[in-house]
């Protein structure tokens, strides 16, 4: 079956520009996660949805970052007024039910470069 997909795969933005990153989770997966991976680092948690409810957004670095999942499937991560420090790979992951001891399956990521 299809895995987690993300689009675009690459995005170049000018500083100050708004960007929107899309994630299509595995069909039927209840939980959806966003992570940010800076160069040479491991992924860092940003936010988590269970269906359409955003249950944890403690990892969002600033109020310029906003995520939504209005119908409980596709999710969008929006970054307003992008800054150079936002340059990173943004990874989306989904899991089936949403329990703590459950595997998260990752998409290929969107590589964002802010100039």
């Amino acid at each position: 079956g299809a895995g987690v997909s993300q689009s675009p795969r690459y995005k170049v933005a000018k500083r100050g520009q708004d960007v929107a990153l899309r994630c299509d989770p595995i069909s039927g997966h209840v939980s959806l996660f966003w992570y940010q991976q800076a160069l040479g680092q491991g992924p860092e948690f940003l936010t988590y949805f269970q269906n359409e409810a955003q249950l944890d957004k403690s990892g969002l670095p600033s109020d310029r970052f906003f995520a939504e999942r209005p119908e409980g499937s596709v999710s969008t991560l929006k970054i307003q007024r992008t800054q150079q420090e936002d340059s990173a790979v943004y990874l989306c992951a989904s899991s089936l039910v949403g329990t703590s001891q459950e595997t998260q399956y990752f998409g290929p990521g969107t590589r964002l470069l802010v100039l």
Binding site: S31, G42, P43, Y48, S100, T103, F106, P108
Partner: protein, 115 residues
């Protein structure tokens, strides 16, 4: 403060020999541990996991060992194959009211299998 540490940025192993990747953690609330493998320009791929109630989990060539008292886990790959060359991430999660939680990742170890 890094809660999951992978102290070896890279590891070189000869094909056919055993690869041992190490991971240390500081948060005693972590109760589920995972290893992910990542190729360039792809998202992390789930490899193997272990619950804190176990000390060993085996899947084919891959075995994960957990030493809770030392807050240490390791991934053994035997025999190592050229296709195992990738970056390996150790990740951990906390039991939080039975719900899902964002994973905490280490910085990764780049495993290079030499022919």
């Amino acid at each position: 403060d890094q809660q999951v540490k992978q102290n070896s940025p890279s590891l070189s192993v000869q094909e056919g020999r055993i690869s041992i990747l190490n991971c240390d953690y500081t948060n005693s609330m972590f109760d589920y541990f995972l290893w992910y493998k990542k190729y360039p320009a792809e998202g992390p791929t789930f490899l193997i996991s272990i619950s804190s109630i176990k000390d060993k989990n085996e899947d084919g060539r891959f075995t994960v060992f957990l030493n809770k008292s030392a807050k240490h886990l390791s991934l053994h790959i035997v025999p190592s194959q050229p296709g195992d060359s990738a970056v390996y991430f150790c990740a951990a999660s906390v039991l939080y009211g039975g719900g899902a939680d964002g994973l905490t990742f280490g910085k990764g170890t780049h495993l290079i299998i030499q022919p």
